[in-house]
């Protein structure tokens, strides 16, 4: 299994062949089936896919947030600055969660403790991870709220979550996540529950903070508009696997996997000269209780061939950082649809 890595620099985070499954009453769900990617310092990786494709489970397993049992990491590794973090809480005497990797969640209303003031909640990781005194931590919390552009931070720090609006809560969550200056911030659908105007504010804030602190961001989303706005690199996930990975321009302008193309065509474009029909992807994602033997997208793919049903395709590299996992890219594939990008013949 290969992973996309820059030539010289060591990646900040490197995930190799990660697989996660869950025991349920109905059987074993193979939620993540061999995912590899890497994240560079100061860059944003977007993981895109529909519900149930395994994007949240991927990052939760890195954060140690998978309940075990019923969850199980069956294979793979995740290395932060060269140190394995899967199944561990401490690297070189430093706590990973909340300290080296910060995380913000989709629903800020349910992710914060309703019985603690916002300031206390932000101060908590500083007291736990950095050994700050309560007073010092609380003052730092106020500074962090200011950094997250919350007006009247000193007053707001003494308020409870119910006194905040959704957008303000998401800012408070961001303040908490960056409290210990993490090198990676994981944002799991950070704006899905918010209105577009508030979404624009939060995305701007994330970009500003990233510029200031140089942290890497892993952004999980299903909104291609947000991806286009934020990402340097994109990984498209389907049925527990990454089906296409590349720089943002590669994935948008040189889409090489039928699923990526399908997602793009299912969305309305706002090009006034182009009045295209919405092309839905028919059917629904496969059942991960018994994942298909071949390519996971095969049943919905308009270009499916016989082999797609029988054998897993390999990654085909189209550029240094751009790969697609599809049989159409195999050298002996008889079919090369025009809509997809193929490697130019040398």
């Amino acid at each position: 299994m290969s992973s996309v890595t820059a030539n010289n620099s060591v990646s900040l985070l490197e995930v190799e062949d990660l697989a996660v499954e869950f025991d349920t009453y109905g059987g074993i769900v193979q939620a993540v089936r061999g995912v590899s990617f890497s994240v560079e310092e100061g860059k944003t990786l977007a993981i895109v896919g529909e519900s149930g494709c395994g994007k949240s489970v991927t990052v939760q397993s890195m954060m140690g947030l998978i309940p075990m049992p019923p969850g199980r990491i069956t294979s793979g590794s995740a290395k932060l600055k060269g140190h394995e973090i899967l199944g561990r809480t401490v690297v070189n005497g430093k706590e990973i969660r909340g300290s080296e990797i910060g995380m913000i969640f989709q629903d800020p209303m349910t992710s914060l403790n309703p019985t603690m003031t916002i300031g206390d909640q932000i101060a908590e990781p500083l007291q736990v991870h950095r050994g700050y005194s309560y007073k010092k931590a609380f003052n730092e919390a106020i500074r962090l709220l200011e950094m997250s552009k919350i007006p009247e931070a000193a007053k707001r720090a003494r308020q409870y979550p119910f006194e905040f609006s959704g957008g303000m809560l998401q800012r408070a969550m961001i303040a908490m996540a960056i409290a210990c200056k993490p090198s990676i911030l994981i944002a799991d659908e950070p704006t899905t529950a918010l209105d577009v105007t508030i979404q624009a504010q939060i995305l701007d804030l994330l970009q500003d903070l990233q510029k200031e602190t140089g942290m890497a961001v892993i952004l999980i989303t299903h909104d291609l508009g947000v991806v286009a706005r934020m990402a340097d690199e994109v990984a498209v996930m389907y049925a527990g696997k990454i089906v296409e990975h590349g720089m943002v321009d590669d994935v948008f302008y040189r889409s090489a996997h039928p699923y990526t193309l399908g997602l793009k065509e299912a969305m309305p474009t706002n090009d006034p000269s182009l009045q295209h029909e919405l092309k839905p992807i028919e059917g629904s994602p496969p059942d991960l209780f018994s994942p298909p033997q071949g390519c996971g997208y095969c049943a919905r793919c308009p270009y499916a061939m016989q082999i797609c049903n029988k054998r897993q395709p390999d990654d085909t590299f189209l550029a240094e950082h751009h790969f697609s996992r599809c049989w159409l890219h195999h050298v002996s594939s008889p079919n090369k649809p025009d809509q997809l990008y193929f490697k130019e013949e040398a």
């Binding site: 519900s51 209105d195 105007t197 948008f252 997602l263 629904s284």
Partner: protein, 319 residues
């Protein structure tokens, strides 16, 4: 085209006790022509859903009128009014999980309207339900199953079948796609489009996804804090917004095009939608508006037609 539905100065307040009132919808006037799709957009809390429900009589009207084919609808619906108008007007709800009764089979859910309103023989109801399930892309033998056995997209199709089986003329779609994945959204939108063609439907399409509203609608109405701020042809409003709020809303909508996103400046505005309990005097958008003037803080602008183009805007910049 003649007007099918006319909303005239419709107002809906909710009393919260202690002299507090939520000004959910205030003084909204809107006409919807026959076979037209009007998209209604705005942030959460702007009163879109309340407007849709008040038009259908699911909320009593505080003041104002709704006319359907020239007939004034009752201010407060009685059971007989629902029985009469439900065959003409229907609603598709936002959340396909909570809007289907988990104890009823799909056949009962979809057939209930027929049973109540048209007094058919059970076997005729069954046949019609079967036809409609096929029409929305499900199978006739799904009839005996329960809602939990279906995915979100399939449930939304069930909701559509339930609304359409009485062959209404006017349907309010309250965020029919926002709980669905991108790939499934397009399936539901295309289904609605096909039904609209074949049945000659008129739709009020409520959503917050601006690109989708532009794609679906003939006309677009933008709502802010209980009032309409701009109404016009969907494409024209999207590409040439006149009201500062519409401009902000459309500027905040990220496009799936990295080059475009890199090249355009961020239009994020400060602040959030104020509480509808204490509505500010004057223009409701004044405290967030980038083009605010003195007059905005005192006088509420009315929705007036512009001179050269087919557009109504409620803003002092155009008075």
């Amino acid at each position: 085209m003649s007007d099918l539905l006319e909303v005239i100065e419709l107002t809906k307040f909710f009393d919260m006790g202690r002299n507090q009132r939520v000004h959910a919808v205030e003084n909204v006037s809107l006409t919807i022509a026959e076979k037209e799709i009007v998209g209604l957009v705005g942030e959460s809390g702007s009163g879109k859903s309340t407007l849709g429900k008040t038009v259908l009589g699911l909320h009593d009207k505080t003041s104002g009128q709704v006319k359907f084919r020239g007939e004034v609808l009752p201010q407060k619906y009685q059971a007989k009014d629902f029985r009469r108008f439900a065959t003409n007007m229907q609603m598709i709800f936002q959340d396909p999980y909570s809007s289907l009764n988990p104890r009823m089979t799909i056949g009962e859910i979809v057939g209930e309207g027929l049973k109540l309103h048209q007094n058919h023989d059970p076997s005729i109801v069954r046949d019609k339900v079967a036809v409609w399930l096929e029409k929305v892309g499900l199978h006739a033998d799904h009839m005996s199953r329960y809602p939990h056995e279906f995915s979100g997209g399939q449930r939304q199709r069930i909701g559509i079948a339930r609304a359409m089986i009485l062959e209404p003329e006017f349907v309010v779609c309250d965020e029919p796609i926002s709980a669905l994945d991108v790939s499934v959204q397009a399936q539901v939108i295309n289904l609605l489009g096909e039904l609209k063609e074949s049945m000659g439907l008129t739709l009020l399409f409520i959503a917050h996804d601006l690109s989708m509203v532009r794609y679906v609608s003939d006309r677009m109405a933008v709502m802010y804090l209980g009032s309409l701020v701009e109404v016009g042809k969907a494409d024209e409003v999207y590409f040439d917004p006149k009201h500062p709020y519409t401009e902000v809303l459309i500027g905040s909508n990220p496009e799936p095009d990295p080059e475009l996103e890199r090249s355009r400046p961020s239009t994020a505005i400060q602040g959030e939608i104020p509480s509808p309990v204490n509505v500010p005097a004057g223009c409701r958008f004044a405290n967030r508006c980038p083009k605010v003037m003195d007059v905005c803080k005192n006088i509420t602008p009315q929705l007036i037609p512009l001179k050269d183009i087919e557009r109504q805007v409620a803003c002092h910049l155009y008075t």
